[in-house]
């Protein structure tokens, strides 16, 4: 290979990172792919329910790519930029076809066509699926293609390597590489590249327990933020309505359970046209007669029923438990698939097995007990794009598409703040990951080929690389040598508890301000953190503790943005400002890191609406036999 052939670094081997790698490699540029875990074990394997795309069956019932876009914007409470959503939904059918060609075992109809299921926020069947392990199947298909390109020398994998810092050339202010650490030998090294794609996923671990995997700390995004990349809408975090709270993690029960006909209910009795908490709410669910089951979502949202978007279902479940309607009076409601035909349950095997394995109950016979849990980050690294003049999509192959404010540094997948606005619709994330990789990957290749002014990364002097590497080595040295008293795991637990209680389903200003103070205190204690392992071989303690510092910084931006957004929109619910306020807040939050004072600076940027005018987001809610609540208790928000 020619010595100064440009190279591209992709950080992250989930769906977004793998799709980007194969696309860029196919465009003829060599890729260095970094991941903390073997890419086949990335968090994307957890995705269960499916991936959305307009299809011929739905089309003949009136659905279209345009409607898919409209649903996505309505679901996102119009905080999403419209041209990228337009482009993504119009590419969706092609993406399904491509994944199909790669051999993804999508479920089939009797005629051999791809089967479809219902999903939240839509009245049409437009979700493609492979059992209840769709993310796993999609990721494996891209993992296989990556392996194939690897044998051809087009992709070079660095697994068990942790990204530490983006290297930015001080003269041109463009990203020219990264610093990373081998998680086994603990060697720290810089790598040169003419473009860097961040595809490092979400930040659920900031909330302690979530439905995300253990490496989803947001650490990588936070490092880019500290290096000068901006965050977009960091306050928007999705709390999924249906998870099983656990000791170490909240395990998701996918929306597909409801898509296939699962129903949410609580034990209750109806007197004088009003529902009252069930006198014996701890009774075995199978002994509770139909007349004593309150199907809360179906009653309040006759149009969408159990398939309202997640933020709405989450709030309903959360409040109903606060009003004393929870199972046994506690913080759980029933998610029931026991009435479904065997054939339908079979399509849900993947998740029903998880429920059975971790709770010991068989959900095929007994309703599942579930509660909301932190699930997805709509916010992330701020990115730009080049729209078509009429707003209908982006300019294909444009090097701007999904570039951060730092030239040459891109953000794809969940770490990218685009597409979902204030709430993500189910089965749109897998789509956005693959779309970013395959569609925007071309822009990265074009950028590197045709748009770099000045010296290529390989030919730059070593100064900037050495400096960034030195900075990271110093950080490690400080952590190793610190003889303070704070235990990083305890600090993390407090961070998680505080964030979950103050900044999930319900966000009250006074509570968030309290959390903000705690956060400052945790940051101070972090300076005295003590490692229990100071060796330099496979030191997981070091990696976790370093990420904790980055989580604290990310959490501060998230909290600050939540406090300052004085309105309610999508997943961001402020009891003190219960209405959406388009005049003040139909805007993207941009968080810039003020390194000198170690705090976020927040700015707002209007969101243009070239295609669809924002409208009220009600999902046809009706007021029905409202609850007669017992006294409202203060309870921590979301499972933790």
């Amino acid at each position: 290979m020619a010595k100064n052939q440009p190279r591209i670094i992709v950080v992250g081997g989930g769906l977004a990172g793998l799709a980007a790698s194969v696309r860029i490699a196919e465009a003829g540029l060599p890729v260095d792919l970094f991941s903390m875990v073997p890419v086949k074990r990335s968090h994307s394997v957890c995705a269960q329910g499916g991936i959305n795309a307009c299809n011929e069956v739905a089309r003949q019932q009136g659905y279209s790519e345009w409607l898919h876009m409209d649903e996505t914007l309505y679901g996102g409470d119009f905080l999403n930029h419209q041209p990228p959503v337009y482009e993504m939904t119009h590419w969706a059918p092609k993406i399904i076809d491509l994944m199909d060609r790669m051999g993804v075992p999508f479920n089939r109809t009797s005629e051999g066509q791809r089967d479809l299921r219902m999903f939240g926020g839509s009245l049409f069947k437009r979700t493609h699926f492979a059992g209840a392990t769709t993310g796993q199947q999609l990721l494996y298909a891209l993992d296989e293609q990556t392996r194939r390109y690897e044998t051809q020398g087009k992709i070079n994998k660095y697994e068990f390597w942790e990204f530490l810092w983006p290297v930015i050339d001080p003269d041109t202010e463009r990203c020219v590489g990264i610093v990373a650490q081998d998680m086994r030998s603990m060697q720290v090294r810089s790598f040169r590249a003419d473009a860097v794609v961040m595809a490092t996923g979400g930040c659920g671990v900031v909330f302690g327990k979530s439905t995300m995997s253990v490496i989803c700390t947001g650490g990588a995004a936070s490092r880019c933020y500290q290096a000068g990349a901006w965050l977009g809408n960091p306050e928007f975090v999705q709390v999924h309505p249906t998870a099983i709270p656990g000791e170490d993690k909240c395990r998701l029960m996918s929306e597909s359970a409801r898509g296939e006909g699962g129903r949410v209910w609580v034990p209750a009795v109806k007197k004088d046209g009003k529902w009252h908490p069930h006198p014996d709410a701890g009774k075995h669910p199978n002994q509770i007669p139909q007349s004593e089951r309150w199907y809360i979502l179906e009653e309040k949202y006759p149009k969408y029923g159990n398939l309202v978007p997640r933020d709405i279902a989450t709030r309903e479940i959360f409040f109903i438990c606060q009003q004393g309607f929870g199972v046994g009076g506690g913080r759980m409601v029933y998610l029931d698939v026991s009435h479904l035909p065997e054939q339908t349950k079979h399509k849900l095997d993947g998740i029903l097995e998880i429920y059975e394995k971790f709770t010991g109950d068989n959900p095929r016979q007994v309703p599942m007990k579930i509660f909301p849990a932190v699930h997805y980050s709509m916010g992330g690294l701020y990115t730009v794009y080049t729209p078509k003049p009429d707003g209908k999509g982006m300019v294909h192959g444009d090097p701007n598409n999904m570039m951060t404010n730092v030239t040459g540094l891109y953000a794809f997948g969940e770490v990218n703040y685009q597409y979902h606005g204030a709430t993500r619709l189910g089965a749109n994330a897998l789509l956005n990951c693959i779309f970013d990789g395959l569609y925007c990957g071309l822009g990265v290749a074009n950028y590197v080929r045709d748009h770099i002014k000045g010296t290529r990364a390989v030919d730059l002097p070593p100064t900037a690389f050495d400096k960034a590497q030195q900075q990271e080595e110093n950080k490690i040295k400080r952590l190793i040598e610190s003889d303070g008293q704070s235990n990083p795991y305890e600090l993390h637990q407090r961070l998680g508890d505080e964030m979950t209680d103050s900044c999930t389903v319900v966000r009250e200003e006074s509570r968030m301000r309290q959390a903000y103070d705690v956060l400052r205190e945790l940051k101070a204690q972090y300076k005295n953190v003590r490692l229990s392992d100071t060796g330099m071989w496979t030191n997981q303690n070091l990696s976790f503790t370093r990420a904790l510092g980055d989580m604290l910084i990310y959490a501060e931006a998230l909290l600050a943005a939540s406090i300052l957004r004085k309105e309610s929109r999508g997943s961001h619910y402020r009891p003190d400002y219960p209405e959406r306020d388009d005049a003040k807040f139909h805007k993207t939050t941009i968080a810039k890191y003020d390194a000198a004072n170690d705090q976020p600076i927040l700015e707002y940027e209007p969101v243009p609406s070239p295609l669809v005018e924002p409208r009220a987001r009600t999902y046809g809610k009706v007021e029905t036999g409202e609850a007669n609540a017992t006294d409202q208790q203060k309870q921590p928000a979301a499972a933790r």
Partner: protein
């Protein structure tokens, strides 16, 4: 055990440790509180935060691999009470039925990196050997893939869920840390891709790879693999099926001279 004692119980963990690939191994014991519903990983997390052994020694935290915590990523495999399985789905309540002490060891068929972390790159290399992919023309939109019947999909789906966890290899008497045997998971993946209309175009290459040394003839048909696979992948069916395919392939090669 009454539910009251259950809530405050402490469980003893006996953990086989090793500081580096060529260091000697040793055992540490820890007592960890185990609330109801705890699994091995939640206890390992507690131990990481409080790494004091039962003899009062300040130990380094135990190293182990994990990611998804819901038995889909395959990262967290270890030998628990003598059997290879995922530590995220190994519930303490279930383990208590086997033994009051929970014994954790790294898998023995792979080189130890540290403590419970092993180097499983051989699992992924095997996938390269059998060309475990569909050779698509490229990443462009070129219409849908081949249709298949729901029955074909069911068969392939069952095979596609292999998460490269290594349990089948740990259990296999023919798979040794220092031999060439490719392993049941890779044989099964060859079947998976041979069963796909486009994937089948590489069937010959896959069968060639499985005919040679370290290939399917090394399987002694002990059937241990299928019993331990957490994803219930029909491994012995795959082995039988690939066995038939290699026989036919060998005969074809003999007669066509290709």
């Amino acid at each position: 055990m009454s539910s009251e004692t259950n809530k405050n119980r402490t469980i003893r963990f006996k953990i086989k440790r090793q500081d580096a690939p060529d260091s000697p191994s040793y055992w540490d014991e820890f007592d960890a509180p185990c609330p109801p519903g705890a699994n091995v990983i939640s206890c390992l997390l507690w131990i990481a935060a409080n790494p004091t052994t039962t003899t009062g020694r300040q130990a380094t935290p135990v190293a182990w691999d994990c990611n998804c915590l819901e038995e889909v990523c395959g990262a967290c495999t270890m030998v628990i009470n003598g059997r290879a399985r995922q530590s995220c789905s190994a519930l303490i309540d279930e383990l208590q039925k086997e033994d009051p002490v929970v014994t954790l060891e790294p898998m023995s068929k792979f080189p130890v990196v540290r403590d419970l972390v092993v180097d499983r790159s051989r699992i992924f290399n095997a996938l390269t050997k059998v060309k475990a992919w569909v050779p698509v023309d490229g990443m462009h939109a070129m219409g849908p893939g081949p249709t298949e019947t729901p029955q074909q999909q069911e068969t392939r789906y069952a095979l596609s869920r292999c998460m490269s966890c290594g349990c089948c290899l740990e259990a296999c008497p023919q798979y040794l840390i220092d031999n060439e045997f490719i392993g049941a998971h890779a044989i099964s993946q060859a079947r998976y891709f041979n069963a796909h209309a486009t994937g089948a175009s590489l069937a010959g290459n896959r069968l060639d790879a499985l005919e040679g040394p370290g290939g399917i003839t090394d399987c002694g048909n002990a059937q241990n693999c299928v019993k331990v696979c957490p994803k219930e992948i029909p491994l012995t069916e795959s082995i039988a099926d690939i066995g038939r395919q290699t026989t036919v392939h060998a005969i074809e090669k003999f007669f066509t001279g290709k």
